[in-house]
């Protein structure tokens, strides 16, 4: 066993993981995406994945948060659609029209970059948000050219939906490959240095303005490629597809996946689109019941987490308490389940109070009954009791139906905010790093660096 490090080598693992992903994506139409509806959703997912990857490249790697991606994509779609409509006999036909779309997007991106990137980053975010809003307005008002609020007919690409799926997949793979090629080139290092500290990078003779414009143009080019292809998989395009709410989806998916890694962002986009599609029709009957259970479980998870956090490394008693706490909580959940719909609001309130009380006592005992910790814990206990009682009251009120489909974007927004707040690397990116073994490599490097620094400080 010399030379070959087997599955421990990051390169091998990365190659294997990417290969598996590629095979999955290539074979998905045969067992996952069987209906034409599924394929439509898949087209949208691949489009969003392209946008997310290019957005993550711009915002995560280069640190320029733009809100214009969807609008830029729309410009590509409209430009090529109008070209095909008004010049149907021009040489080249559809391929030239697609090129025109990509070119239009790249040019607009270059103009935006030249206007904005001399300024602080925040101006880019502000201006691109305004720009995206205005693009939709212009398309709606210039109805002779663009068809206005109604849809504009588009010449579809040749082939059927399955072919379109593969075309988009290849485009996405091309975009990701380009992005990773750039990230690993010297240009990528410049980008990262610019994101971390623009002034120091400038002092190291990185031309910040030119670099920013270049990265904006490259990112717009990727948007143009995927968007021009995507809008030609269907046969119509409308201003609704350029709405800022779709941009919000792109940002949310990319950040939830992990905006420092375009691959994670793209995967997250695919997963998000399919998940949102699944949630669209979901309606929870007896939602209050689920709400009550969810509140209970969340409260207990939180309690357990708190106890573990406090008990870690201090004594063994804490862990015992965790066991009692979680076990008691599960029993309560099961009991409530057994009660089923026969429970009353009083039961719910009683449960909530018992829950809060048990937790309070456990915590107080663990902490030796200090007043400040008692005060803080009683606050949490009271909140838990109130929340649980409220859920119980709803429960007793009867069948409360929640249409999850209507709330799915709100949930998505909440997940975005929570991800930024508590998991700044995103949810998928750490998993990907772990999978590829890069995580261990990074942490080794990090520790080595830290040791060197500590040594240096010690000697000083």
């Amino acid at each position: 066993m010399t030379g070959w490090t087997g599955l421990r080598s990051p390169a091998t693992r990365t190659a294997l993981a990417l290969g598996a992903l590629g095979v999955l994506a290539a074979t998905a139409p045969f067992f996952l995406l069987t209906s034409s509806y599924d394929l439509d959703v898949a087209h949208q997912a691949l489009y969003m994945a392209g946008l997310c990857a290019s957005w993550a490249f711009l915002a995560g790697i280069a640190g320029q948060v733009s809100f214009a991606h969807v609008a830029l994509g729309g410009i590509a779609g409209y430009a090529s659609a109008i070209w095909m409509r008004d010049l149907p006999d021009a040489a080249g036909g559809l391929p030239v029209a697609l090129l025109v779309g990509v070119l239009a997007t790249t040019l607009v991106g270059a103009a935006l970059g030249a206007l904005l990137l001399r300024l602080q980053t925040v101006y880019l975010s502000l201006f691109t948000l305004a720009f995206a809003e205005i693009v939709t307005l212009v398309i709606v008002s210039e109805s002779e050219l663009t068809g206005g609020r109604a849809t504009l007919q588009v010449t579809a690409l040749g082939g059927d939906a399955l072919d379109h799926y593969y075309i988009l997949l290849v485009a996405l793979a091309f975009i990701l490959a380009c992005i990773y090629w750039i990230i690993r080139s010297p240009l990528g290092l410049c980008l990262k240095s610019m994101r971390e500290d623009a002034e120091s990078a400038a002092a190291m003779s990185v031309n910040i303005v030119r670099l920013k414009v270049a990265v904006f143009v490259i990112s717009s080019f990727f948007v143009g490629v995927i968007a021009a292809l995507y809008f030609h998989t269907g046969n119509r395009i409308s201003p609704d597809q350029l709405d800022l709410s779709i941009m919000a989806l792109v940002v949310a998916a990319a950040v939830i996946g992990g905006m420092d890694s375009p691959l994670a962002a793209a995967l997250s986009a695919v997963l998000s689109i399919f998940l949102l599609e699944l949630l669209r029709e979901l309606t929870l009957q007896d939602a209050a019941w689920w709400l009550a259970v969810a509140v209970l479980v969340l409260v207990f998870l939180f309690a357990a987490w708190q106890v573990v956090r406090r008990a870690r490394g201090t004594d063994r008693e804490g862990l015992k308490i965790v066991g009692i706490n979680v076990g008691g909580g599960l029993l309560l959940v099961l009991g409530l389940g057994a009660l089923g719909r026969g429970a009353t609001a009083i039961d719910a309130i009683a449960c909530g109070l018992v829950l809060g009380g048990v937790w309070l006592l456990v915590q107080a005992r663990r902490r030796g009954g200090g007043r400040s910790s008692l005060g803080r814990l009683s606050g949490w206990a009271a909140a838990a009791a109130v929340a649980f009682a409220a859920a119980g009251a709803l429960f007793v009120q009867g069948a409360l139906t929640i249409e999850v489909g209507v709330w799915r974007y709100a949930i998505f927004g909440l997940i975005l905010a929570l991800t930024v707040r508590f998991a700044s690397n995103g949810l998928l990116q750490p998993a990907l790093e772990r999978l590829s073994g890069r995580h261990a490599e990074f942490s080794r490097q990090f520790e080595a660096q830290r040791d060197t620094r500590d040594d240096a400080e010690a000697t000083r």
Binding site: L115, Y123, L126, L137, V140, R195, S245, G413
Partner: protein, 402 residues
């Protein structure tokens, strides 16, 4: 077409390109500072051709150049207006000065309403050094709260909803600040601006689609109008004052907006909280040294900012119908344009910026040759203004570079 118009249309852009490309090169070759020489060359070339460019190329005095640039800017504006008048001689803006005056006063009124929301955003920026990307959604939330509260108060003017809206949005703002923006004070974030941008953006989506969940998407949410339950007997839609035609609803809301901005100024100047807010916005560390708790000041700034956004929405919903959730983005775009105009984080700048934006929008929409498109392009004129400001004076009216 007259020879002058022809010259302006053909030679102007050509000389503009010559100036924009040539002047920075010339300066660079001479070792002078080429910064903004391209802009100066473009403007001067467009309005005065080779003569103006020669002055910039030959003269080395900075003052002369600045004066010349401003004069050229004014001249260019004048020439553009003149061209507009030549092209559309029948336009009401060309023939009817009372109409223009009316558009201006309408715009000022609207600007005063926008100012309430924008001032909140400026306050948040000045204290916390972040841009709140949930501001438009808080604005919409204020409008929706007013929509629910107003009919409950039968026979009363919609203005009575304002305190309720303010308290509701204040609470939402405090909760958001506590839950999501508290890491800003830890100093451990690599890029606090980006963190705040993304986290508030997420909160914005949450608020936006929660409202959609409650209300469904709505093309037009409307409440009783200001004139339905008249205030001080003002029950007509418009009043004629000399040549002006005053719109009652806009000016009632505008007056309240001005009052609120004035109130905020008083609070900032003379109360302890206000002084703490200003102190933190000037120097965070020094403020902390003299015993100002940054957490409370942050909470106060974000809470007040959110409340102002909400009140802005509540002031506007009796005038325009709210389209849920699009209205949030439109409001946010206006607020961003305004604070960039005024200088990020400047409260008086935001007031002035709001009026500038209001007047620009009103004049733009009023004078646009095709009235069918004018209304949809209203926001577009703001974007033009935004672009011009970024080109000419990116720090805004009152912003120093910080």
């Amino acid at each position: 077409m007259s020879p002058l118009a022809l010259w302006l249309l053909l030679a102007g852009p050509a000389w503009s390109v010559v100036g924009a490309v040539g002047l920075p090169r010339l300066y660079r070759r001479r070792g002078q500072d080429p910064q903004r020489a391209g802009l100066a060359g473009g403007v001067v070339g467009a309005c005065s051709g080779p003569a103006g460019l020669a002055v910039l190329a030959l003269n080395r005095s900075h003052t002369v150049k600045v004066v010349w640039l401003w004069a050229a800017g004014v001249l260019l504006l004048w020439e553009l207006l003149w061209l507009f008048a030549r092209a559309y001689p029948e336009n009401s803006c060309v023939t009817d000065s009372a109409y223009v005056l009316n558009q201006v006063q309408n715009g000022i009124g609207l600007g005063l309403i926008y100012a309430v929301m924008a001032v909140g955003l400026a306050l948040i920026f000045s204290v916390m050094r972040i841009v709140n990307f949930a501001h438009g959604q808080l604005f919409m939330l204020g409008g929706v709260v007013a929509y629910y509260v107003t009919p409950g108060m039968a026979d009363l003017n919609p203005l009575v909803a304002l305190p309720v809206v303010a308290v509701a949005c204040l609470i939402v703002g405090l909760v958001v600040e506590r839950l999501f923006l508290s890491p800003l004070q830890s100093g451990k974030l690599d890029r606090p601006m980006e963190y705040a941008l993304l986290v508030t953006f997420g909160v914005g989506i949450l608020i936006s689609y929660s409202l959609v969940g409650f209300l469904g998407t709505s093309r037009g949410l409307r409440t009783p109008r200001y004139t339905d339950h008249p205030l001080f007997g003002l029950d007509q839609a418009t009043y004629e004052v000399g040549p002006l035609l005053i719109r009652t609803d806009i000016w009632i809301a505008g007056a309240v907006g001005l009052l609120l901005v004035g109130l905020l100024t008083v609070v900032l100047r003379w109360t302890w909280t206000g002084r703490a807010l200003r102190a933190v916005s000037m120097d965070r560390e020094a403020a902390a040294t003299v015993g100002i708790h940054p957490r409370r000041v942050h909470a106060a700034a974000f809470g007040i900012g959110a409340a102002l956004a909400g009140v802005g929405g509540a002031l506007l919903i009796p005038i325009i119908n709210f389209a849920i959730p699009q209205v949030a983005f439109e409001a946010a775009v206006r607020a961003y344009i305004i604070i960039v105009l005024g200088g990020l984080g400047s409260v008086p700048g935001a007031l002035l910026g709001a009026m500038t934006l209001g007047v620009t929008e009103a004049l733009g929409a009023g004078c646009f040759p095709d009235p069918g498109r004018a209304a949809t392009y209203q926001l577009g004129f703001g974007l033009v203004l935004f672009t011009v400001v970024l080109l000419v004076r990116p720090q805004g009216f009152f912003g120093g570079r910080r």
